[in-house]
């Protein structure tokens, strides 16, 4: 079983459209949507939830105002600015370290477990999908990602799946690192813009940092062919293989609007481009593991 994560650094380059397309195209796979704070893959795959779990992680301070003697020790020691001057907890700023509760001379502060989201196992027309929803403005997205990755892996092993395809979040922060850990390859979906290149470079650095191979696909490549070439050259110079190019086509937007993957309704040029990306990607990933086996 191989795990592939679709990342981009920059948002809106087409990660979810690409993941949806692979969901429709690749056989014997399981899907995980790791963009837990603004998940969109379910809009294309219409999951029917079969398992639902609460996600609790971390703690938040709660001050019992009846017991509080207003010494302001909590205010003095909190480094997150989570205790206001009138000695109230700002839950959005509290990072749950618990220092205030430990130092309160009258034990008026309690650390309450934080319910920060939900996660699900669902049936879709393209097989099983594991996904989640982080509460508005919550933290610990990295832990939630790790949780659904683990469940996805268990189900993939039990179901003898060949592939786990993961839709990643934008950026390079903690949920991205949690999406990336232990995968066999990153499919980097970029776009031919100067910010697309800038952000792709940061993802490539992250891949190097974790020693995970990265492959590039430039989406909407024909919007600016010159920038596409610049990105591809940058990638080749940095040890990133090119998996393919997907053209800009309005039929892609029409698919998203009607809740379909591009494999179910976009123009042929788009479908064959995605098929090429997958062929190159899967060959390189399985080829690499064959070589590793031989080396062992």
């Amino acid at each position: 079983m191989k795990q592939i994560v679709v990342l981009s650094g920059k948002g809106g380059t087409g990660k979810t459209v690409m993941t949806g397309a692979l969901a429709a195209f690749v056989d014997n796979k399981l899907l995980v949507d790791c963009d837990v704070d603004a998940a969109d893959l379910h809009l294309l795959l219409e999951p029917e939830i079969i398992e639902r779990h609460e996600f609790r992680s971390g703690h938040k301070a709660c001050i019992d105002s009846g017991a509080c003697v207003r010494c302001a020790r909590c205010f003095e020691v909190c480094r997150f600015g989570a205790i206001t001057k009138d000695l109230q907890v700002d839950p959005g700023a509290c990072e749950g370290c618990g220092l205030c509760a430990r130092l309160c001379p009258v034990q008026a502060i309690r650390m309450a477990e934080n319910m920060c989201g939900e996660w699900f196992v669902s049936r879709t027309r393209f097989g099983t999908m594991v996904h989640a929803r982080l509460g508005a403005g919550e933290e610990n997205s990295g832990k939630l990602v790790a949780r659904i990755r683990q469940r996805g892996k268990e189900l993939a092993i039990a179901g003898k799946r060949d592939w786990v395809i993961i839709d990643g979040p934008p950026g390079i922060g903690c949920p991205v690192m949690a999406s990336l850990s232990g995968v066999d390859a990153v499919l980097l979906v970029s776009e031919p813009t100067c910010s697309g290149l800038h952000d792709a470079a940061r993802v490539i650095d992250l891949g190097k940092h974790f020693r995970i191979p990265v492959l590039l696909a430039v989406n909407k490549w024909d919007i600016n062919p010159a920038v596409t070439e610049t990105i591809e050259r940058y990638c080749l110079d940095n040890g990133v293989a090119i998996a393919g190019r997907v053209p800009f086509d309005r039929s892609v937007v029409d698919c998203v609007v009607s809740g379909k993957t591009v494999m179910e309704g976009a123009a042929e040029v788009v479908k064959s481009a995605v098929a090429d990306v997958w062929q190159n990607l899967s060959q390189i990933v399985t080829g690499a593991s064959e070589r590793n086996k031989e080396a062992v």
């Binding site: 650094g9 920059k10 948002g11 809106g12 380059t13 979810t16 837990v36 704070d37 603004a38 969109d40 809009l43 971390g58 703690h59 020691v77 480094r79 997150f80 959005g92 700023a93 990072e95 749950g96 370290c97 618990g98 220092l99 430990r102 130092l103 982080l134 508005a136 403005g137 919550e138 933290e139 997205s141 990295g142 979040p169 934008p170 950026g171 390079i172 922060g173 903690c174 949920p175 991205v176 690192m177 776009e191 031919p192 813009t193 100067c194 910010s195 697309g196 800038h198 952000d199 940061r202 650095d205 992250l206 940092h209 909407k220 919007i223 600016n224 920038v227 937007v253 998203v256 609007v257």
Partner: protein, 288 residues
């Protein structure tokens, strides 16, 4: 006044709106708080003036004073310290700096005062100017998780008397909250697609919870369907600007150019947007 430009979904045009708005707003401070993937500088092209490292405290153990009692590991809510047998078989604390939130609990609560704090770099802040725009952004080190800390440091550079525009990161979780906390107005950039709408609804939940006045900019208007317009109408959310979907705009963006420098119509659109923000902000202030 501080205006934050946010969106649930990435790639809807936050940076485009933030930079172009800054360029028409006159004397303004523009802060790029997308510290994982800062992009505003690619379009603004500021003249860089200074660069400062951003550090956070990280515990360091003085082995000669440590008794191996394990209190530091017990009080750490982030499992950033483990106490394990050292070379001489005595228990010794081992610090994992990347898990540390720099709360200070271990150093304050160590019974023998064996822990003091060093500084660890998590990224840099770069400052520059272009014309009447003073600019700064944070750039987080690759592999680092403390983006909210860096975001807060960048926000400390806000102009307390004039206008500040903040380019926020995408999503709805802690980095976004750090970027928009305490701002006077939030501009939500979306696109008229099911993805844009879905993530807009999530982002609206966050700003409403934080009680920040807000309005919407629809980018690539005319591309998908009417669902975003309908949602805004039903929810009484003001749509402050519509940037049309046009290949020329996409090409202009792809080359790192700003829209207001390229077209008079766009300059007019962003002037109008700025006026609309002031009007809506004024109306909400009077209501509350």
């Amino acid at each position: 006044m501080i205006i934050a430009v946010a969106s649930g979904k990435g790639g809807t045009g936050k940076t485009t709106v933030a930079v172009n708005l800054a360029l028409v707003a006159g004397s303004v401070c523009l802060l790029d708080c997308d510290v994982e993937e800062p992009n505003a500088h690619l379009f603004l092209k500021p003249e860089w003036r200074e660069e400062t490292p951003v550090t956070v405290p990280v515990p360091e153990v003085d082995v000669s004073r440590c008794t191996g009692c394990g209190e530091c590991a017990r009080v750490c809510a982030y499992h950033a310290i483990a106490v394990i047998p050292g070379i001489d078989k005595n228990p010794q604390p081992l610090v994992f700096p990347h898990l540390c939130h720099a709360c200070g609990a271990c150093s304050l609560l160590c019974p023998t005062g064996a822990i003091h704090e060093n500084r660890r770099s998590i990224g840099i802040i770069q400052k520059g100017t272009r014309g009447s725009v003073s600019f700064a952004h944070g750039k987080m080190n690759v592999g680092e998780v403390l983006s909210p800390v860096l975001i807060r440091r960048v926000k400390e550079l806000a102009d307390s008397r004039g206008l500040t525009i903040i380019d926020a990161p995408p999503g709805t979780s802690c980095p976004v909250v750090a970027a928009i906390r305490g701002v006077d107005f939030c501009l939500m950039v979306t696109e008229p697609t099911p993805f844009g709408l879905h993530d807009l609804v999530l982002a609206v939940a966050v700003v409403r919870q934080m009680k920040i006045p807000f309005g919407v900019v629809i980018n690539r208007a005319g591309l998908g369907n009417d669902a975003v317009e309908n949602y805004c109408r039903v929810e009484h959310i003001p749509v402050l600007a519509r940037i049309p979907f046009a290949r020329e705009i996409a090409v202009c963006y792809s080359g790192g150019e700003t829209l207001v420098d390229k077209s008079l119509a766009m300059a007019g659109l962003f002037h109008e947007l700025y006026k609309n923000i002031l009007r809506v902000k004024d109306e909400t202030d009077r209501c509350s």
